[in-house]
């Protein structure tokens, strides 16, 4: 367990009595073909919470979900549901239900029979099934669709049927595996809102897996950021955004300029050869640190008034704001501003003490936060020696 994760648990510990823990994962590890997918995961989820597992593809978030659902047994560690260990309990006996990435609706059944599927297994009386199905169709705004064929539905409608099908059996916990990935942007936003709404109305626990940070920020009570099989940070959306624990989290959630710095003293950090006032303390004297400055927190000032000076190398219009890349002593900063600059302008920048976030050095230090390009993958694409991942190859073949 990483230290920030531990601290976070302690902080939450004092509130434990308010809400009961429904799922507790203890020291979960999983490997496939000698490759470790999950490394000693510890996580608890409280009843009624909307928790998002957020991370890039291959970070282990879907594996974590499959362990909770019962489709996968961990190599080691304990899965505790409502106080009882449920390792070895098959999926069909667990009080959790899943909404699959591609919905996995039964193509041989119509909308009604899909939603009634789980209830028929439970031997619920017919009139009660019909009542529940009608109620569920109302919940997802699909009244009158009972007799429709699954294949005749749009992606968004199939999504709703999948939600209704999973909720019809009244699970304690609903697991959602990137459920909105196949929908277009506008519909996705509507569905985010609707899912959150449903969750609050029913008061059941949602565990939501996504790689979309914006989705995670707008829906969750708690976000669990994962990378390469480890939990990086657990916290509320504002905590995660404002107080990222390391360069990976800072880079993955939103845009960040991440610089090498030295903590000269409490409330004083030095980077780019300048000493800045900040609000962080508790680091060792002269301890090397990572400094995060969000692009929207940088103010542009005339160059002679700036704390730092640099030349504008690119300006992109984004609608609400301009995205400006500034070269300051060889490091490319991203700045989001409503004022226009021209490429080649020399500008000054100013940063307020509370906008500077200081983080301890981690294994991710130096990997992120320079805007020479937006992704490492992009750099790799033009390099013939870099091997692309498997699905990219598959797409090329198509």
């Amino acid at each position: 367990m990483s230290i920030p994760n531990y601290i976070h648990r302690l902080e939450r510990g004092c509130k434990l009595n308010e809400k009961t823990i429904i799922i507790n994962l203890k020291n979960i590890s999983v490997s496939f073909d000698e490759q470790q997918i999950l490394k000693n995961i510890n996580l608890f989820i409280r009843d009624g919470e909307f928790v998002t597992l957020l991370g890039p593809s291959g970070c282990g978030k879907t594996t974590t979900l499959r362990i909770i659902a019962g489709f996968l047994e961990p190599d080691s560690g304990e899965v505790i549901f409502d106080g009882k260990t449920i390792n070895g309990v098959p999926a069909y006996k667990r009080q959790v239900n899943t909404i699959f990435q591609r919905y996995a609706l039964f193509p041989h059944l119509n909308v009604y029979d899909n939603i009634a599927f789980g209830l028929k297994n439970k031997k619920v009386p017919k009139d009660e099934i019909s009542k529940t199905v009608t109620e569920m169709l109302g919940l997802v705004n699909l009244k009158g669709f009972e007799k429709r064929n699954i294949e005749s539905l749009s992606g968004g409608q199939q999504q709703r049927v999948a939600i209704a099908r999973a909720l019809a059996v009244r699970p304690r916990v609903l697991l959602l595996d990137e459920p909105l990935g196949a929908l277009d942007l506008k519909l996705r936003k509507d569905m985010q809102f609707e899912l959150k709404n449903i969750q609050q109305r029913l008061g059941i626990t949602f565990i939501y897996v996504t790689h979309d940070q914006e989705e995670a920020l707008s829906m969750s009570d708690t976000i669990v950021v994962m990378n390469s099989g480890e939990i990086q940070q657990i916290g509320s959306p504002t905590d995660i955004y404002n107080e990222p624990v390391n360069a990976f989290v800072a880079d993955f959630i939103g845009e960040s300029n991440i610089l090498d710095g030295i903590m000269r003293d409490d409330y004083y950090v030095e980077f780019e050869g300048m000493r800045f006032k900040c609000v962080d303390k508790g680091f060792g004297k002269n301890e090397p640190v990572d400094v995060v400055i969000r692009p929207e927190d940088v103010d542009i000032v005339p160059s002679e008034q700036g704390m730092l000076r640099g030349e504008v190398t690119s300006v992109t219009f984004k609608g609400v704001h301009y995205e400006i890349i500034v070269d300051i002593n060889g490091f490319k900063w991203m700045i989001q501003t409503t004022e226009k600059s021209e490429v080649g302008d020399v500008i000054g920048i100013s940063i307020k003490p509370e906008e500077i976030q200081v983080m301890k050095k981690s294994e991710y230090s130096g990997l992120y936060g320079d805007y020479s390009s937006f992704s490492d993958e992009f750099d790799g694409l033009s390099d013939p020696n870099t091997e692309q991942s498997e699905d990219e190859n598959a797409q090329e073949e198509e």
Partner: protein, 273 residues
């Protein structure tokens, strides 16, 4: 209405010529022979003569049905296992299924003769451990065994091809919604594999009901099937007219069976739940 362009007509021409020569013309000839006598005059006699073949028809259908059912029972779990196994294991298993098909049909059937004979390979081995000898050759069982052995791959392949395309997340969704292993098969896998079963049944039943040679060799000529009777009319009795009428009735019978099967298949998906 869309008119077919000249180029399209030219492209279609070879297929039209093909179907006229190899499908339509033979059918017309079967009809012609079935309703004429040796001199070429119209007669019902060939059809009337069929009343002597009631038993042969009945036996053909019975054996074909039994062989088809046995094939289905063997193939369904087999296809499921192959579809669910890893890529390398899967190609090995498929290879084993296909291997006998590389041998000639007659040799395959003949080899069972040496295996099942009263002093054949199986009885010799059983005898060595103090069992038998069992009478296996020249029995209805041997004929059905021959059918199952020869036509099994035609049942495995269509079912396998459906099963391998089956979305695995559907079975996970089913168990997520409370189905145990058996219920997953009954409520999801089976209804979704019905099209494979139907084409498997068709592909085994049709050659089984019209087969010849198998019953002559493994049944010792005691359990003649309709295919053998047709062969005899053409090869030894030289009564093309009776042979043609037998073929005609066999053909109608197969069409009727397929019609019933397809009717059944349409209702299957819904009825099974």
């Amino acid at each position: 209405m869309k008119t077919t362009s000249f180029a399209k007509k030219i492209l279609n021409a070879p297929y039209i010529v093909w179907s006229v020569i190899f499908i339509i013309a033979p059918l017309i000839m079967v009809f012609y022979y079935a309703f004429t006598d040796r001199s070429g005059a119209f007669t019902w006699n060939n059809i009337i003569a069929l009343k002597n073949y009631g038993e042969t028809f009945g036996r053909s259908i019975l054996y074909a049905v039994v062989a088809t059912l046995i094939c289905l029972v063997i193939s369904y779990p087999l296809a499921y296992i192959i579809a669910r196994s890893g890529a390398s294991k899967r190609s090995t298993l498929m290879m084993l299924i296909m291997l006998p098909m590389w041998m000639n049909f007659l040799i395959r059937t003949y080899s069972w003769l040496t295996l099942l004979a009263n002093k054949g390979v199986i009885n010799t081995i059983l005898g060595a451990i103090g069992l038998g000898p069992f009478h296996m050759i020249n029995t209805p069982g041997a004929v059905i065994l021959g059918m199952v052995y020869n036509f099994l791959p035609y049942m495995v392949l269509p079912i396998y091809s459906i099963m391998s395309k089956l979305d695995f997340s559907l079975t996970e969704a089913a168990s997520d919604l409370g189905c145990n292993g058996f219920q997953v098969i009954r409520r999801v896998i089976f209804p979704l594999s019905v099209p494979g079963i139907i084409s498997g049944i068709t592909m085994v039943f049709v050659p089984s009901v019209s087969t010849f040679y198998i019953s002559q060799k493994l049944g010792g000529g005691k359990y003649l099937l309709i295919g053998d009777s047709i062969e005899m009319q053409f090869q030894s009795a030289y009564n093309y007219n009776l042979g043609a009428s037998l073929s005609l009735v066999l053909m109608l019978m197969i069409i009727a069976c397929m019609f019933v099967m397809n009717k059944f298949a349409d209702d299957e998906g819904a009825a099974i739940i």
